[in-house]
Amino acid sequence: MLSKSEIFKKGFLAVAPHMLSVIPFGIICGAIGVEMGFNPYLVYAMSIIIFGGASQIVFLQLISAGASSFIAVASVGIINSRHLLYGAVLSEYLEKLTLLKKLIISYFIVDQGFAESNKYFKKNKDQKNIHYHLLGTGITLWICWQISTILGIILGSFIPDELGLKFAVPLTFIAILVSELRKVDHVIVILVSGISSLLFFEAPLKSYIIISPIIALFAASLVLRFKK
């Protein structure tokens, strides 16, 4: 029987390798926010208030490109809707917690933490206090994310414009998607979304960022039908 702190430590160790990707991502997020001319406090506050890397970058990019707040907020919602899926999967293991504990633990659910803790939960279903694993992964990633965005904000003010750091944004998202490039169904969805975004780029209020994912998700549901 493992103690709470031992389970927490297992969570920490499970996400430790992910720091290698989370830290540069956080640095890019902070640096880009400052480069785009945002208030550094705002750029940092996003890491606490939103705490979702990809959506933070998209939000900054859209606002700096002149999108309305509504579009920027809505795209954060769409990007982060994947948490619904994580929650649905994790809820089975968190059922016995009190409401307050559920509310607190929810804040720490992120991609890499979900991936690692879900693996642990599957194997250790019957153990007590397994939610400490999710706290271990989540809090570790949270601290990593806070420190790296601050680092990025500080570095961002030194990075010269000529380097075109903005190009790091599409590269970061390419990096997130590379693991999907081997799956044909995902490649179809990726191409549909990408091509739609070019076609609808001129749509008012930067709405291409909402229109394209909706078209692509529709394509995904068609793909799912064919897969059966």
Partner: protein
């Protein structure tokens, strides 16, 4: 105004995190919807990638000789082969810088 939207975006994000965990019946999310949600990253991120590469700062389509295209292609190849996030980002950046500064 931007502060307010950050706060709203934060609340919205928190709702996506806690809804399914605190909800009494998680089965409201049907199997079909769950499968579609699995495609969200592939449906959202290309809408950021493609315009960021193919349009310039003024919203015009770039030419085929633009270094961004080659940086991105290089990153995709490295990413596909290595499946490593950092290698992907840095190979793209470095090839982009090499083209800009050397050619």
């Amino acid at each position: 105004m931007t502060w307010l939207s950050v706060i709203v975006a934060g609340i919205l994000t928190y709702i996506t995190r806690m809804t399914m965990i605190t909800l009494v019946d998680r089965r409201v999310l049907g199997a079909k919807l769950r499968q579609v949600l699995g495609y969200v990253p592939s449906a959202v991120f290309p809408a950021i990638i493609f315009p960021a590469i193919f349009f310039n700062d003024y919203g015009n389509l770039i030419e085929l000789t633009d270094p961004k295209i080659y940086g991105a292609l290089f990153a995709i190849v490295v990413g596909y082969l290595s499946r490593n996030i950092i290698a992907t980002i840095f190979s793209g950046l470095i090839s982009y810088w090499l083209i800009i500064f050397l050619i």
